[in-house]
Amino acid sequence: MSEFHEEGGSKNEIPEDEHYEEDLADSNTFDEEEHPDSEDHGKAPIEEGPEKFGGEEEGGLEESGTREVVTPGQVLGAKSKDLLPGFGTVADPKGNIISLYVGFLQKHGKYVNVIPFKGRYTPRVGDKVIGKIVDKNVVLWKLDINAPCVAILRAGDAGEGDRGRREYGGGGSKGGSPQVRRRFDRGGKKEDTSQYNVGDTIIAKVLKYDRTTEPSLTTVGPDLGPIRGGFIMDIAVPKIPRLIGKAGSMIKLLNTLTSCKLFVAQNGVVWIKGRKIDEERLLIRAIKKIENEAHTVGLTDRVKEFVESEMKKVKV
């Protein structure tokens, strides 16, 4: 199948692209007090990053100049030096570029892309995901992350459960000879699966994935760890970039307008936690609005208007 190509892109550029989306996710950091630098970490690459469907608020769709809906198998043109199959398209044996999805046709430089309307999450290394533990044994947990298969979280990759903090040499066995300590004290990591239980929901990052094996996760890192309280909601995976907005603009907007905190995971799961239930409910409505109107222009302004007018009602 085809890969995503950027302007003048080659396969080597694809990792950069992945970074870009990962950084988008980073910019919606949850615990700002704890990780003040994560905001900056997210910003820098975004400004240099290539324009992508998700990042574009007004510009991208206008630039491509099309809102044409295409269907699977539709011929989008003949493959040539100036027209190459990009994301969601493939060249057939006759040399025609055909669409693989029902979606929007988008031209990006030399590449023809089709942005699907719906789809299941495919894990990518570095993605932050929200998953529910469905099974556990002595050495690992299995998580449902909306992917075609369950994801594995090994006890050694689970950190201490203390969000974002990893202590080396602390905790664990005290006293004893250095040899004994080295053997049993794995840098503060717990080597059993007592921290989480079946049914817990956690934020994790994809460590490894190729499609022949189950994805491996880790909870060591900023933002990662168990979720307590708040709401979880699902939205369509292709609409995630729109909810994040250009350089995380939509998330920032929602975070500033309401007192809620919002975490958007790449696998189509959103975690909302606020102080007032009314505000949480408003945020859920706002997110549904974004999902339903994801293909439209000027969405940020409309969402802003919507949330501002609704917030007045909440306060009264």
């Binding site: 198998g73 539709q74 055909i98 029902v102 309307f117 299941r120 075609p148």
Partner: protein, 250 residues
Amino acid sequence: MPLLPEGHPEKIFREDGLRLDGRKPDDLRDIRLEIGVLKNADGSAMICHGKNRIIAGAYGPREVHPRHLAQSDTGILQVQYRMSTFSVGERKTPVPGRREKEISMVVQHALEPVLFLEQYPNSTIDIFIQVMTADGGTRCASITAAALALADMGIPMRDLVTGVAVGKINNKPILDLADYEDKWEEGAADMPVAVMMNEKKITLLQLDGQVSIDEYEQMLNLALKGAERIYELQKEALKKKYTSELVGGR
């Protein structure tokens, strides 16, 4: 008394040469396609083809149950075709019969070529087809609906698959047989065809009856002509569904 009048008409063509429902030999029945009819399915579609009412729901890619069916090198497509007890004149037993198992398999084989199953090792894509009312040509209508359900699910597909039945009655090739035409026995043959229209590749071809090579070619051309028209309807239905969502969003 059965709800639908059963029985065999004495003649199969009217005196003016048209079929009993007023169609020309190369006319299709009325077809209406609807996308996204099942809220909880990943993708779904309904087809109203003549009196046929068929709903298809697609799920996945997801884990395979039972696990021993999973293949480590490729994903699998599982299709379940079921007829409702009330879908035919005489009550149909709810136990899946030989015919339903055959059609499930045939639909699965007709749809597999458009999917990139190798992308989903150890996973399955499930399609459930429920026939609410049957009126001849359900396997073809099922394929048409199931292809739309897959497209609605957002899974990469090379093309849509279009199913259409052709046959002959009194040695005359006709397109899109209705139930009573299917049951006619004089000089009759029945040939369900499924095509990937873009590349004109045939993914299903069954033949029940005896035909000469000339007749076979005539019938196949007729089927391709009919499939072309259904393919347009399929594309239109998909575009309409998502364009209307778009307009609603504004």
